[in-house]
């Protein structure tokens, strides 16, 4: 009886913690690295039930030449930590304006992805691709944008400072990843990462993602400025997120082929 009550209480506690990922952890520091990373995943990729954002990126290569990307994103979660739908509408550069991207992200299998090319009026299905390659020509990887499954890595809590958890994550399988491990510095209050550094087999940090700005939108801590640096080439990409709105009530039925051809303006503006 006692054990049953305890289990029940633990379950309720976990449910409360998971459903309010941005509430400060008042009960003291967390000790379980996996739980910390799960909550980071939830805070970063599953905030609210749905959301919209305008994303601007500036790509700077090693020679100082820069390019821009601008796109609007609509997201709706099917289940926290699980499947999600994304609709991405490109606005810049000029030669890809009107290109749209529909992603049905699956927690346990390859994502389904479609790309719409407006010039040809062609809805192209995209084959599953390496998640750790450039996202639309930026220094971000697909995985940085849609989130890496926490279960793909083993997590170890290295340090707990006054404000941050420091977690080392090592991939369970080295196939398809270019890093030996990476370290996350995670804010104890918001569970958002402040810095992620990727280390190669030689022990060298070759890639870094830094959180530059966090804003509170509708009570939800949201990363609005990020910088990703390719330390080998010297190139980097800055990302700026604006026009964020959560819990708009975006319906599930806009994540269909029709929306690729004709994006739903009601939710984008």
């Amino acid at each position: 009886m006692r054990t049953l009550t305890k289990t029940w209480l633990a379950a309720v506690a976990a449910a409360i913690l998971l459903s309010t990922p941005t509430t400060p952890a008042e009960a003291g520091d967390l000790k379980d690295a996996s739980e910390i990373v799960n909550r980071t995943d939830a805070a970063q990729y599953y905030a609210a039930k749905d959301g919209r954002a305008l994303v601007r990126m500036k790509i700077v290569d090693a020679k100082g030449r820069s390019q821009r990307r601008q796109f609007a994103v609509l997201r709706r979660d099917k289940k926290d930590g699980g499947d999600q739908n994304y609709l991405v509408v490109f606005d810049q550069p000029a030669d890809v304006r009107g290109t749209t991207f529909l992603v049905k992200k699956h927690a346990s299998k390859d994502d389904d992805r479609w790309l719409y090319l407006p010039g040809l009026d062609l809805v192209k299905r995209i084959a599953a691709s390496d998640e750790r390659t450039s996202f639309v020509g930026t220094h971000f990887f697909y995985e940085d944008i849609s989130g890496r499954q926490p279960a793909e890595d083993k997590h170890q809590l290295l340090e707990t400072t006054d404000t941050e958890y420091v977690v080392k994550s090592t991939p369970k399988s080295t196939s398809g990843v270019e890093f030996a491990h990476y370290t996350l510095r995670i804010n104890k209050q918001t569970f958002l990462p402040s810095k992620i550094e990727y280390v190669n087999a030689q022990g060298k940090i070759y890639r870094r993602i830094e959180t530059v700005k966090v804003d509170t939108v509708q009570g939800i801590a949201t990363i609005t400025r990020l910088k990703v640096s390719d330390l080998d080439s010297g190139g980097y990409t800055l990302s700026d997120v604006s026009n964020v709105e959560y819990d708009m009530g975006i319906p599930d039925d806009i994540f269909v082929e029709t929306s690729l051809r004709n994006p739903p303006q009601k939710w984008l503006r």
């Binding site: 305008l54 550069p93 304006r97 009026d121 809805v123 084959a127 599953a128 691709s129 530059v212 082929e257």
Partner: protein, 468 residues
Amino acid sequence: MRCLAVVALVFAALAVASGAFAQSEISETPEEVAGDVEPSDDAGEDDWGEFDEWQEEEGDSSGGKASAFQFGGFVEGLTGARVVRSSASANEFTAGEARFRLNLDATHEIASARFRGDVYADAVTERVWFDIRDASIFVRGGNWFNMRVGRHVLTWGTGDFLFLNDLFPKDFNSFFIGRADEYLKAPSNSAIVTFNIKKVGLDLVWTPIFEPDRFIDGERLSFFNPLANGIGGVGEIIGDRSPLTPVDPLLPEKRLRNGTVHGRLYGTAGAYELAAYGYVGYWRQPTALDLTAMQATYARLATYGASVRGPLLGGLFNVEAAFYDSFEDRDGTDPTIPNSQFRGLVGYERELFPKFQMGLQYYLEYTFKYDELVNNSLWPDYEQDEFRHLLTLRLTQLLLLDNLELSLFTFFSPDELDTYIRPRVTYKIIEPLAIIVGANLMFGRYDYTFFGQLKENTNVYARLRYSF
């Protein structure tokens, strides 16, 4: 003379572009190289400040206004020349054009208007062309119904450069001379109505006035004409030297009953996409013959088909089939009307290495009533085989943060012994400027096969595009 002037202009543009490229290479200063060593904080206030300016520039594009207006487009030069000897065509150039494209978009929550217009000076045909690719209005009637009316480009089906159930107009001249891929599709004046009920969609398209393909008519590209020396004579490849070109086919009368109707019913079952298609109209190319006028014309056609597409072994597969019902000659005995056909396609694509994609397709055309066809044919020696097989291979590699694309697309028919190879390099020099260099290589043992007839058009081309 004019032709030469345009070509000179394009080359001048190319020269300027390569100069700009060289300059940006030189601008690599020692300070910037030093920045590589300590890149952690090189994004200073200035770097981020740019976003604030950027926001102001476009502040009104998403600020809750009733409607938004956008414009864009590009300027492009294209030069292409034959690299093989051609006895049929006097003009050695397959392309020489300077093009201006304007894109306009007005967007409202429930309606939007779109314009895509090209004007280009074409040195090959010595004309200035206006080509409105899109002038259409879209209306959204809730989540379950919408429509687009006007002139626009339409596409559906699962093939890669192979169209079975897509009977919308295509422009094969553009495809074989190195214009951008989008020009393979030609616009039509059509209305499309879409109904969405849960996960099922229904598209109905009506094109009141039949819009044929922009087919190869001999003026720019040469092709095989089995009647070049009359009925029973020896066929030959004809081009701009022949008095029979440009081919001017007899079009269906502009009557209400001569319009074309296309339909598609589609939906998903898990990760698999299923679709059924139908079409009633005409063959897209003038493959019929009007014997009284001795003119090429379009026979009536209905098609029915289906497709499925989904994930398989880390990649994607697609299967598509279509039945071409040439219902004016179901017996297959009328030599002036093409016979009915079955067309099938199986495809598979996947990423072999990061940023390296491979796509394979097998395509089959089976002609019904083949014996009747050959027995009655006006050119039995030149008819395609009962079974025509085609294999395609696509390889695409993206490099330099997707700024450099190496692409190869190959068609090969093992029974017709002909091939078409499309290598292409696309390089985005700086953000608005891209250079594209490629070739269209056609080979064939026989002059009368699908790609073999195009062998005298083998060309290389260069394009330079500035987008805004």
